[in-house]
């Protein structure tokens, strides 16, 4: 993400936008990039207002709820059967392995 001082507006290049789209595996046609950029900037600059607040000494919030230490209980198992879950796969071989597009050269 481009670094800016609090008074500046965030700018973003079309290449940065393409990179971000790639990381999210989104296919964005070139003619939609400008529109996406203005939406994206509107969002970023909206949140940028937080930079104007004095946050020195404020602990960054890791979670919005006042919860901590939620632990897995003994003996709890998911009711879904593995076979049932495997039905979500496009293709499964005779040894129960999920077949996916090749990921090595």
């Amino acid at each position: 993400m481009p670094e800016t001082r609090s008074s500046e507006r965030i700018e973003i290049s079309l290449q940065q936008l393409r990179d971000i789209a790639f990381l999210s595996r989104l296919e964005v046609p070139d003619e939609s990039l400008e529109e996406l950029r203005s939406d994206f900037l509107a969002l970023l600059n909206h949140f940028k207002q937080i930079d104007e607040l004095p946050t020195d000494g404020v602990e960054p919030m890791a979670h919005p709820l006042e919860l901590s230490n939620v632990f897995l209980q003994e003996g709890v198992r998911c009711p879904a059967e593995p076979d049932e879950l495997l039905q979500n796969a496009l293709e499964v071989d005779s040894e129960r392995r999920v077949i996916v597009p090749r990921v090595v050269e």
Binding site: D19, L23, R25, P60, A62, H63, P64, L65, L67, S68, N69, V70, F71, L72, G75, V76, R77, C78, A80, P82, L85, L86, N88, V92, D93, E95, R96, R97, V98, I99, V100, P101, R102, V103, V104
Partner: protein, 483 residues
């Protein structure tokens, strides 16, 4: 040439934690079952399924942090690391980026001159393992790969060192010390061949005396001590060659080719800043109270050093024996039990039996101590019988061997064996029988072929069914034959 540059190495260790269940779901943490059997909506990343932290993982992580003397972040949380790969069904890995459980610790390692130094640990953090991809030829030809998600969501601990190692020997010592630590803390089964410990090394060279580090290259995906050592050798060779040619090194990630014994650059489209880490919203933060921390400290299994010290100081074993018998936690546990069962005066003979007979058997058969069929108590009883001269060492070994090869329980075999014969009259009787039966051999012996004594001893031992002390028989034989 080789002394021009100083080697600077840092290591990342990823170890699977041997918890009973996975990190964030109730699936058994055991992936040695048919593919895709230990899976559930959570570890498969089915939309709407929520992770919940396995407290065992937290406890194991705390043990490691305590053993590595790290500062413990008593408030910490998980973060998401995003990337797309078929072995990661959620599209992100739950990890710890911004507030790891442990930061800034150290582990002492051995230096090449036999001294010790501390390697600083920069952080210890919890994360989850991915599924396993297979690229069988038949599939690759069809343009596919296969995935097994049994390993997906298995708890992992990542231990990151500072670049404090200055030779491959130091790296080796670091890996061994770390393996011992993880083994004795009972947090990892340390089965390298099954991938339960994996390494990534970062290596750079700099002229001796230079303060700043050279360009750093990372070597990914190393699965054993040997491959780390060999990969480092290869990478150091490569860097020296490039530096000698006057070309600057590129900061990059390489893979080690085990067959060609060389490192080659990895084609990578994503760099670490592209992982788009952010706090994991599905898992609330962890707060570790002082009480909890203390509890973990109090119930932590002893480290190898402590176990060795106990063997030496309390049981009178030699440092060498203590070292051999603590090669693994399982062996150390068995040895401790056997030594305790034997009592103080039996400690040293029991230790000898462990080192010679028990370890000999394990080496021969390739079995692990966990598979050793004779209990520590039985072994101690056997040694006591030998020490009290109730049976001969030879007979004890025979019984043990027969029991190990499935010919009955050690107890029964010993009962059948009968007690040792130390009655001289009986021994002399057997000796005279042997002399009468072998007049020609007696002749040869008396005319100078004294090595025939072994033959006579063997014959007497056979008559005694192993219940005679070979040394005693030999002495008596020499008397009888000499006369």
């Amino acid at each position: 040439m080789s002394s021009e540059y100083e080697i600077v190495v840092g290591l990342e260790i990823h170890t699977e934690l041997c918890t009973r269940r996975k990190a964030f779901c109730g699936c058994p943490n055991n992936f040695k079952v048919p593919p895709n059997t230990n899976i559930c909506p959570t570890c498969l990343g089915v939309p709407g399924a929520l992770p919940v932290l396995n407290p065992e993982m937290l406890e194991f992580a705390l043990r490691v942090c305590l053993a590595l003397h790290t500062k413990i972040n008593q408030r910490c949380h998980f973060d998401r690391k995003h990337y797309f790969y078929p072995d990661l069904p959620k599209g992100y890995q739950i990890s710890q980026k911004y507030r790891q459980i442990g930061v800034e610790g150290f582990i002492p390692i051995e230096t090449e001159d036999g001294g010790e130094k501390r390697v600083r640990i920069s952080d210890v953090h919890m994360e989850e393992d991915t599924g396993t991809l297979a690229h069988t030829e038949a599939y690759v030809r069809k343009g596919t790969s296969t995935v097994n998600y049994n390993r997906c969501g298995v708890p992992l601990l990542e231990i990151v060192s500072h670049p404090d190692m200055r030779s491959i020997a130091e790296v080796s010592s670091y890996m061994h010390r770390m393996r011992d630590l993880l083994d004795f803390l009972a947090v990892s089964d340390c089965r390298m061949e099954e991938g339960s410990i994996r390494y990534e090394a970062s290596v750079s060279l700099r002229p001796f005396g230079q303060e700043e580090y050279g360009t750093r290259v990372e070597i990914k995906n190393l699965g054993s001590f040997r491959s780390v050592e060999q990969a480092l050798e290869a990478e150091i060779r490569r860097q020296k060659r490039i530096l000698a040619s006057g070309t600057p090194l590129r900061q990059e990630t390489v893979l080690f080719d085990e067959n060609l014994k060389e490192t080659r650059p990895m084609r990578s489209k994503e760099s670490s800043s592209d992982y788009r880490y952010f706090p994991e919203p599905d898992l609330p933060p962890i707060v570790i109270s002082d009480e909890r921390l203390n509890e973990v400290k109090q119930t932590m299994p002893p480290l190898r050093d402590t176990v060795m010290k106990l063997m030496i100081e309390e049981h009178g074993l030699t440092p060498y024996a203590a070292d051999v018998l603590t090669a693994s936690r399982a062996l150390a546990d068995y040895s401790r039990d056997a030594v305790r069962a034997g009592g103080k005066e039996m400690a040293v003979p029991v230790a000898n039996w462990l080192q010679n007979t028990v370890l000999g058997y394990l080496n021969e058969t390739g079995l692990e101590i966990a598979a050793f069929p004779v209990s520590a108590q039985e072994l101690a009883d056997l040694v006591r019988k030998v020490e009290e001269k109730k049976i001969t060492a030879a007979a004890a070994k025979t019984c043990l061997r027969e029991s190990l090869s499935g010919k009955g329980s050690l107890r029964d075999l010993l009962a059948r064996q009968g007690e040792a014969v130390s009655d001289d009259a009986q021994l002399v009787q057997w000796i005279r029988d042997v002399i009468t039966e072998n007049p020609d051999k007696v002749e040869s012996y008396r005319s100078g072929r004294t090595n025939l004594i072994q033959f006579f001893v063997g014959q007497v031992m056979r008559l005694s069914k192993g219940r005679a002390q070979a040394q005693k028989v030999k002495e008596l034989l020499e008397e009888e034959l000499g006369g």
